[in-house]
């Protein structure tokens, strides 16, 4: 799997030093720098930072996108705490994250170990595992809603063959969130597997050999060599998958639209619902800012903890 890039070393053309004031040279260097960074900076400022700043000002107004906005100060933020729908949405997001993140990491490690074997057609298996990740979540969602259709879906057909009772799946308030988590896992586990596969192949062979020479069995090698070596990657995947779970939207939009009875309405979906379905842009922006703050805080805490305990993921 390793790729090598061969590049012909370029000989630097000898520059004739011209008499120039150091000020001019600095200005030129700075201009050149901005020449490279400028277009990207413009894009980031125009498409990310400006809307983010704007959203903050919107979050302090009551605005439906059409009539003039009225300033309401921090009232939108205060309202989140007493809004039962927002609290329910936060709970759904929490449940989804708690189910999704550990499951995707565990499955990712398992699949990566399995794909790290030297067997025939391994390239084909690896591709198979990664394909769902490449497929768009919207397509995954539409496909899954066929599979889990209570009346005509393949999932109930399989249950029937096994002699188990038919389930409502996405149409039952109790099961919908779990089914969504399963669909998300199917789509995202390929990503974890590939990351772990790369990490597994990075583990120095000498370490494994040394442990084997010292009499460690396969399990002990895995427990005391492989797992600790995978730690930095695990921190990365944990953060990455947490963000994925917290921002899961397209899957929910294409399967349940937040239903049944709002049981799959996550924070992101609730924001969409507020801002673009019921035109409460101010309140929606406030909830979005809260979500941003929570995601940021979580990431900072994990990185801080990780730096303190001295592993080098970030």
């Amino acid at each position: 799997m390793a790729l090598t890039f061969a590049a012909t070393p370029r000989t630097r053309s000898p520059e004739t030093p011209r008499p120039r004031s150091s000020r001019g040279r600095a200005a030129r260097r700075s201009l050149t720098g901005w020449g490279f960074a400028g277009p990207a900076t413009l894009l980031v400022v125009g498409l990310s930072i400006f809307p983010a700043v704007w959203a903050f000002f919107i979050s302090r107004t009551k605005w439906n996108g059409i009539a003039p906005a009225t300033d309401v100060g921090w009232r939108n933020y205060q309202r989140i705490a007493t809004d039962p729908d927002a609290i329910a949405a936060a709970q759904h997001t929490l449940v989804l994250t708690v189910l999704f993140v550990p499951a995707s990491i565990l499955l990712g490690i398992l699949i990566a170990v399995a794909l790290n074997q030297k067997i025939r057609l391994i390239g084909f298996y690896r591709t198979c595992i990664f394909v769902p990740y490449v497929a768009s979540a919207a397509a995954t969602g539409i496909l899954a809603s066929f599979v889990f259709n209570p009346q005509f879906g393949a999932a109930n057909e399989a249950l029937r063959r096994l002699g188990l009772p038919a389930q409502q799946f996405l149409e039952s308030p109790g099961q919908a969130l779990i089914v969504i988590c399963l669909i998300a896992l199917w789509g995202e586990v390929g990503f974890c597997a590939v990351i772990y596969l790369a990490a597994l192949q990075d583990i120095p062979k000498e370490l494994v050999e040394a442990a084997t020479v010292d009499g460690a069995g396969k399990w002990r090698v895995f427990r005391h060599i492989t797992l600790p070596e995978l730690r930095p990657v695990t921190v990365f995947t944990a953060i990455w998958q947490t963000i994925t779970a917290m921002q899961l939207f397209d899957l929910i939009y294409t399967t349940t639209r937040g239903g049944p009875m709002n049981s799959t309405q996550t924070v992101v979906y609730y924001i969409y619902e507020l801002a673009f379905q019921t035109q409460r842009l101010g309140y929606g922006a406030a909830v979005a800012y809260l979500l941003f703050a929570v995601t940021m805080l979580l990431t900072v805490v994990v990185i801080w903890y990780n730096r303190r305990s001295g592993s080098g993921a970030f």
């Binding site: 930072i49 003039p68 996405l170 049944p260």
Partner: protein, 439 residues
């Protein structure tokens, strides 16, 4: 190093304040100055109008043809026709972005329940005087549609499409169950009884169906029941649907969904139509838009007025509008008014709404050959046209209706899935909506 830092900080500050200024410009609106938008209009002036039709494929082609016809008759008026957005639902988002950026159309299609919000933008024309002119024949349009086009006493648009809910039933299923067909005099008790007898778990057949997605589709099916029971949606700007009448209306639906299990509960809005068309649902409460798919499914069907309470069979209408916007240009405002007057005239509307399978806008169109052709193609069409007379009340056109609709829809969904009682659910919906309706 400090100087660089400070420089960076000032730059950030400058950027932030620039953003603030821009934001203030973007979220601000204009107030109404009370002047007629078309005062001093010169009909001979050369103008270009932008028309967002909200239509796709076939209907959009018809619209383009009509715009070309109009241009041929009035060479000084060029009409730029486009759907405006990928789906009609997205038009509102496009309009709000257009308001923020200052580039919005002269005429746009709009759902009736947006009227309150659009009127609050301060960018719509006041057409009250214009439609009052006898030559416009405003009263030929259904009363419910005229009410929806009016927000706070001001007419902001002209009805573009009228419809209503009626009872559509599958004759084959009624015959198989040995039941008499529904009539215009049915009560809800008779409806429930028939639904119960049509339901057969062995064949996956339901008596009737209802959407529990919590959207406007869920909500507006309840309004006729509420009105028939003597209830009101709003009292002033306060929610009034959680009255005794509202509870009784929702209980009528609950017994079918929870006690009888004769009601298919659709989580998506999109499944009950096809299920009816495939013969798995005996009766649905739906509108003329369902007729095209039913025709394609070659289903033997009948249409009657909604079941009633004490002989009151009133229904709900969901009219859509052509909303006219003000660009501070009398010639554009005047030209767009003339165009819409032409488009919604009995003669041209027959080539527009009837041609694309909708009900006619004006009562005077009943005698046109286009109407005869429409009824021949869609046998239920006549019934829907007659049922327009039963649309006596309209959904309120107030800002905040969208929020209230969502809360009521969620409440109905809970009740029909057995998770709440009608009283609890409606009270909760009223409490959650009060804030959005009042300020």
């Amino acid at each position: 190093m400090t100087s660089i830092r400070r420089g960076r900080r000032t730059r950030l500050l400058a950027a932030a304040s620039a953003a603030l200024l821009l934001t203030a410009a973007c979220t601000g609106g204009e107030s109404d100055d009370g002047k007629d938008a078309a005062a001093g209009y010169d009909p001979a002036a050369t103008v270009t109008l932008t028309w967002w039709t909200g239509q796709t494929s076939e209907a959009q082609k018809v619209a383009e043809g009509l715009a070309a016809d109009y241009h041929a008759a009035h060479p000084n008026v060029t009409i730029k026709t486009s759907p405006g957005a990928p789906t009609t639902d997205d038009l509102l988002t496009k309009l709000s972005a257009g308001f923020a950026g200052g580039s919005y159309p002269d005429i746009s299609y709009a759902f009736g329940n947006w009227a309150g919000d659009l009127a609050a933008s301060g960018k719509t024309q006041d057409l009250t005087g214009f439609v009052a002119d006898p030559s416009f024949a405003w009263t030929e349009m259904p009363a419910a549609a005229r009410t929806v086009a009016t927000s706070n006493g001001k007419v902001i648009g002209v009805p573009a499409l009228v419809d209503n809910l009626a009872l559509i039933y599958n004759k084959k299923l009624f015959d198989a169950a040995g039941l008499a067909y529904p009539t215009d005099d049915w009560t809800w008790e008779q409806f429930r009884e028939a639904a119960r007898k049509l339901t057969d778990p062995a064949t996956g057949t339901y008596g009737t169906a209802y959407s529990v997605s919590g959207s406007e589709d869920t909500t507006w099916h309840l309004w006729p029941l509420l009105w028939q029971n003597g209830g009101k949606i709003l009292e002033g700007t306060k929610p009034a649907f959680n009255s005794e009448a509202g509870v009784k209306a929702l209980e009528t639906l609950r017994v079918m969904a929870v006690d009888d299990k004769s009601m298919y509960l659709d989580q998506t809005d999109e499944k009950y139509g096809p299920l009816f068309n495939s013969g798995h649902v005996g009766m649905i409460l739906s509108g003329p838009w369902a007729l095209l798919d039913i025709k394609d499914a070659k289903l033997d069907y009948g249409v009657t007025a909604l079941p009633g309470v004490n002989g009151d069979h009133q229904t709900v209408s969901g009219p859509d509008l052509w909303v006219l916007f003000d660009h501070e240009d009398a010639n554009r405002a005047g030209a767009s008014r003339d165009f819409i007057k032409w488009l919604t005239s009995a003669q041209i509307d027959a080539k527009w709404n009837l041609a694309v399978g909708n009900l006619p806008l004006r009562s005077s169109e009943e005698s046109t050959p286009e109407f005869a052709a429409y009824v021949k193609e869609y046998p239920g069409g006549q019934k829907f046209f007659d049922n327009l007379a039963n649309a006596k009340q309209a959904r309120p056109t107030v800002a905040g209706y969208e929020v209230m609709s969502r809360n009521v829809g969620d409440g109905i969904a809970k009740v029909l899935q057995g998770a709440a009682s009608p009283k609890e659910a409606l009270d909760e919906a009223a409490r959650k909506s009060a804030d959005a309706l009042e300020n």
